[in-house]
Chain length 293, copies 4
């Protein structure tokens, strides 16, 4: 179990949102209120989009986020209009940089809070289902990284929602075949540097919490004296596992089995339904767990 | 604030006491019940005495104890008749191996749970009071390491109780001179490989908790079916910041302002009273904070 | 490319052989003379057998061996009659503890100096060939760890030489199928705590150097005044990538395409010939790269 | 002994100068040609000035520079008009982030290649001479950090050249008093974000190498086809311990006992002469090693 946040909006010093708010993600690394684990001290990751190059930069650390001097330096000197941050509580896999989120492929990044149950049993079939040309880029040992590669195999870069529906559908079908129940728990953030997809889903339909900040115009009618709020602009959106305490009233809970799409122009909210279809021609298996034709 | 434990007795695999008991020190690193901080994830240290050489070995790690693979390996393969372990929650100084306890000088080691208030203000005077020949061996930046060197300056190796009384007396006098109140909070463990001194003291007389296991003969009359207890021998003693949950009834609280001495033969318990005397000829200052004559 | 050493003999403090000899393995981590890379600073590993439990202990570190304070502590306090140590120079895979040698399975450990060429291309087929019940224990991303699991799949615990011949045979066949030349470079050490197998082999028959110390009785006739030599006993054997400088005249080069078996009683030397046979019933593939029947 | 570089000029992606040139600083971390140590694998540091805030950011790592994934990410995504980078080869002090250069105070940073001989003996007197209000900010255990604090004590922020002359003068006087010869070896880089001071000095007048790139207009007359050169502008300056191989002909050696000042407008070169004068009112000692009046 983990905690994560994403920012999409005006460029800000990362620390403004990562460290300074009350009950910030860094606070949550020590004292989570809504997570299954109260301590998320098994690694930290940050992926940010800047102005120098289009690809996102990654910072991965196995030190707990609350005590990482380099992270404080980075966050207090680097500005970004879109970043995702993640604090990790391992469910058993090794604490190493290659297991830290976000995972990256070209301009795409993904963070995941949750777990694939019985991953030890499912890992081989899941890795087999990854497209052979993507296989070499799996560097760590987490369920999340394999899920990311499954989603890439199913076309994440072309159609993120469908790809994630098929990736999770594959996981559920594979779990069923192995007799594993409650296959997946997931709140997932994905971005290409322009949009952010926030997925909330679990096989048992009792997913980890996930919140998005409301439209600023609506909020401003309610709140008057909050300086952090005063600086928010209409297009600014925060997505968080747990609400920041100094922005009360700002949060909409993302509903169960839903994907929220934060993007230029009106945001979008859609039902999320895993699909068990075979892939077509992009290296994914014709049937779950079987070799490619 | 930190948590620590010490074992003196029959040789045991370190994991038997460090990992396996309910509410073990490793559990306390994630979920302390009695500490000021609930998470002690800012470094781990182990000092153990073995059979190959008389000097103790140290293992210092900046990874949280609960997730440190090397620590699990060590603890499950190394036997020791006397060891001290420490989980750290920094009060601000850097997370680095040289700030991990225990600190060592020859055959002597020390662990400390607590804090010297206003250490930033007092640090220079405290370091000045350390004997110049000991000064070069200060490697980190903690209050605890300087306190250890003060105690060495005052003769820890000859008379540990008096030396610690004078070291803490010096700290209190220096704090008073700087207008710092509640100078020190301390539960301290010291060993030379044969005995363990466990000090419990704070300027405000409201010290962190500290417990020692009772004599086994007395306990065995009370408890019958506990397998861990059944393996304890008469000379075996555990000292812990917080009781291990699977040995209920075993624990004596070490009283406020007291030093407990665990040793071959009957153990000893004495009042602990800081002294503000000048040193004589061993490099310590004639008056607190002044240069050596 | 890496460097390694193994000791089998009387119990010694590990530092006696790991740190103290001239041109020790730790020296080689900074200044290798015979390696392809002169610096082996990308991680260190030690696997040692002790007296407390039959399984070997592991110490894995991503700090360069020459500056690792915990390694110095361990090596100067722990005695072992059989240990393997390894300094790593990565050929591209991540520097993380799960990529440090030795790899372990039950009582078995393996270290590897060398490389599987085109591993990115071959990795998927190699991992597929690993027995599904061993698959979940692959934790890192190195070619060496997958090779170890292939050898386990082919029966390392029953017949190490045949298993390694088949594992490497499989690698060569898979490489050939992918058009990869010079499939493997390898000097490999394997142990079960009683014996050490030292393999020297490469597809191009130009393998990395590997040396074993000669029988002590023969050496003692030649050398008279070397104190380190004077302490050696008849059963003591050192295996090293590069000779230790303060034991000149002691070393036999292990020939190309040979396995040396150090064991109680007379040691043994055999030709090493990779085999391309299919496996029988233990989860390995019927033909290289194909799915299990 | 260490290696360092500094850039002052047009904003560049840090990797353009830190990683991409032939014989870059990262190459020098593995294979230095002109250094006393060929390997500089005991930590890395980067201090860069950006556009978001005036204070420089620091990145300190105890992983060898050549294998540090976070460093590659940073360097390939962050632009800076002025940065200093440093690879460390320890002369004995601990490998920890607080011992990594650059050291920082407000807008000022310093890197140091060299050594203060007999630092164990001199450390106490040097630390005593540091202004008490600066004393608490000493976090590590290096000679370089104490030298930086001495220079700050002597007024680095007001007059860097005089302050460094007095700091090194104090070191030499203190060394002489302790009977230590060849007190200091130093190539030092200092910056406030606008200018860079590059000091080359050693007590024995045989200082480590230090080079500065020539004025671009002069170079361009000589070189025609070098694309890296073609991108240089008139105000751009590189300072390096060892010349980058793909900019031959560009380098001026900074003379012995000289400070080079890179700044807007014409650069400046001055003789550097340590001074043994007492301080006036800023907390530094009236005579070397004595307590403040």
């Amino acid at each position: 179990m983990c905690r994560w946040m994403a920012w999409s909006g005006q460029p800000v010093l990362i620390e403004e949102l990562l460290f300074k708010p009350k009950h910030s993600l860094i606070d949550q690394s020590l004292h989570s209120r809504m997570g299954v684990e109260t301590t998320n001290g098994d690694g930290f990751g940050l992926g940010w989009y800047g102005t120098a190059v289009p690809e996102p930069a990654l910072y991965h650390s196995i030190a707990p986020a609350w005590g990482d001097a380099n992270l404080r330096e980075l966050a207090s000197h680097v500005e970004s209009h879109l970043f995702l941050a993640h604090v990790r509580a391992t469910t058993g896999t090794a604490i190493q940089q290659t297991n830290c989120h976000p995972f990256r492929h070209g301009r795409w990044v993904m963070v995941h809070n949750g777990v694939i149950n019985g991953f030890e049993q499912l890992r081989r079939d899941m890795m087999l289902a990854v497209s052979p040309d993507l296989f070499p880029t799996i560097q760590g040992s987490t369920d999340s990284e394999v899920l990311f590669h499954l989603a890439l195999t199913y076309g994440l870069e072309q159609d993120p929602v469908t790809a994630m529906e098929r990736a999770i559908g594959f996981v559920e079908a594979t779990a069923a075949r192995h007799g594993v129940e409650k296959a997946i728990q997931a709140s997932i953030g994905v971005s290409d540097g322009e949009r952010v997809w926030a997925f909330r889903y679990s096989t048992e339909r009792a997913s980890r919490s996930l919140f998005v900040s409301a439209e600023v115009s609506a909020i401003k009618e309610l709140n008057i004296d909050n300086p952090r709020l005063a600086r928010l602009r209409d297009e600014d959106r925060l997505i968080v596992s747990e609400p920041l305490a100094d922005l009360p009233g700002v949060w909409h809970e993302i509903p169960e089995s839903t994907v929220m799409i934060v993007q230029p122009g009106p945001d979008e909210q859609r039902p999320f339904e895993p699909r068990y279809e075979p892939a077509a021609g992009n290296g994914a298996p014709a049937t779950p767990g079987s070799p490619r034709a």
